[in-house]
Point group: C2
Chain length 277, copies 2
């Protein structure tokens, strides 16, 4: 049994199960209040907001949410219209869909809508989930694009500001699925004050609001912690030159693992087998 | 100016430059004696040994090696025929081509040829290089196959014994190019006494014979050091379940970086910019 608001912020690596046991979406639904939940779907990262809105409406309706609304914001700043702000006020859970994170950022940034969302997260009266592009925007800095199949280098990743719901982290998604280790490493070389979090598909870093998160889902969450970095050539390297990053701490976390992102340490495992070391 | 036998063992991540400045192949050539070198090409990992043999013969001839021989071994154990052993005796450098590492292993393992090679490496009278499949066989354990695009899990990697020229390491190649982080992590979870080394294309870990190696080439060498591992679920996890690996030390090394694989630490950087931390 999952408690209401157990996970105030859920950062999902994309391609979460929508047809089977839906463990991540069910956790979000329960965390937002279960049968008492009013879910607001924000599909504006997508170029097909109606299709995306309808798909998630069907899912949360099947789970028997009290109410499901699609906040189909169609332009930057439109989110601050009274209708959308009133809809937000009535929601206990907001779900940011996939699509293009830059589009999502442009539609929501510097808005009363975003400020209200943060205020309600702090008050503990709202649960926020984002998948794929909706996950990318969670940090203060976000990966807006990039490529893969190369060694880590400055030109491999495009960075810009994010919406900052969890300021300390720098998120990448579809992580091992789309070969994004080098991209996240390059992003962390540029932002060594952040914690890199690479989330696989159908996997979620479920933040608990106490400085920790728990892993839910089918894959892994990769933590890149540069706090003990002893050397990088980032500042002196040419845009396409390979990067050096010495003394990173890396954790591979799977379902049930918990990580304290303020203390930068894995919480004592309570499942699986203790290492034989 | 590169000294003869500067790099007794060169482990190359595949797709090394063959038409431009050829920095890795030139380093191998010089390390094997330069104009005094007798280079032996072992193309038996490849299903097209003649094509591969001819290509490298042309390259080392153009570099003006004293002599270039193709050791075109066509069957397991054939390498112990007098002709091949005599050819080996005359070589100052042996180059293992790409292809299939299992084929290469089966052709060479438990042979006088392999023992002689190791003996001469220890004596410092021979330089050994291997690219791609030729790199994979270097460790005591080798990755014989696997897949990519998934979270780290036990089923993602096939492991078997390697030829053990550098027993301590577990090599993966075409590393960031082919999305092999999860595969190498899975291999290290199974062999936590080894040091994981992921080598990008046109990049080389050039071992110096003193317990250190230097990075040469266009990409990065990724070190996965599990010595401080605090937890893994490897033994209790199902074959396709995601793995946990807590407290890995990871280094991203680029050209000129040196790593001490016995002490498990990066040598003090003498190039680039010291970190701003």
């Amino acid at each position: 049994m999952v408690n209401p608001t157990q996970y105030p912020v859920m950062v999902i690596g994309g391609a979460e199960d929508k047809v089977g046991p839906r463990s991540i979406l069910t956790n979000f639904f329960k965390s937002a209040g279960g049968a008492q939940a009013t879910i607001g779907i924000v599909p504006c990262a997508s170029q097909e907001p109606s299709v995306v809105g309808n798909r998630y409406t069907r899912i949360f309706s099947e789970l028997k949410a009290k109410s499901v609304k699609v906040l189909d914001i169609r332009r930057p700043q439109e989110c601050d219209q009274d209708g959308w702000l009133q809809a937000l006020d009535s929601c206990t859970g907001i779900f940011l869909s996939g699509g293009d994170q830059v589009r999502l950022f442009e539609f929501i940034r510097n808005s009363t809508f975003a400020t209200t969302l943060k205020k309600r997260l702090n008050l503990g009266t709202l649960v926020l989930a984002g998948t794929s592009a909706g996950a990318a925007v969670m940090g203060e800095k976000m990966i807006s694009g990039g490529s893969s199949g190369e060694s880590p280098n400055r030109g491999l990743v495009d960075l810009m500001d994010g919406l900052g719901f969890v300021p300390e982290v720098l998120v990448d998604q579809h992580f091992h699925n789309r070969n994004r280790m080098a991209r996240l490493l390059s992003a962390i070389a540029a932002n060594p004050d952040k914690l890199g979090i690479g989330i696989d598909e159908d996997t979620c870093a479920a933040f608990k609001g106490d400085g920790t998160f728990e892993v839910i889902g089918k894959g892994t969450v990769t933590i890149i912690d540069p706090r003990e970095l002893t050397h990088t050539n980032y500042r002196s390297s040419a845009p396409t030159s390979p990067l050096s990053l010495h003394d990173l701490r890396v954790h591979i976390l799977s379902e049930g693992d918990e990580y304290d992102y303020r203390r930068r340490s894995v919480c004592m495992p309570t499942h699986g087998m203790v290492s034989h070391f």
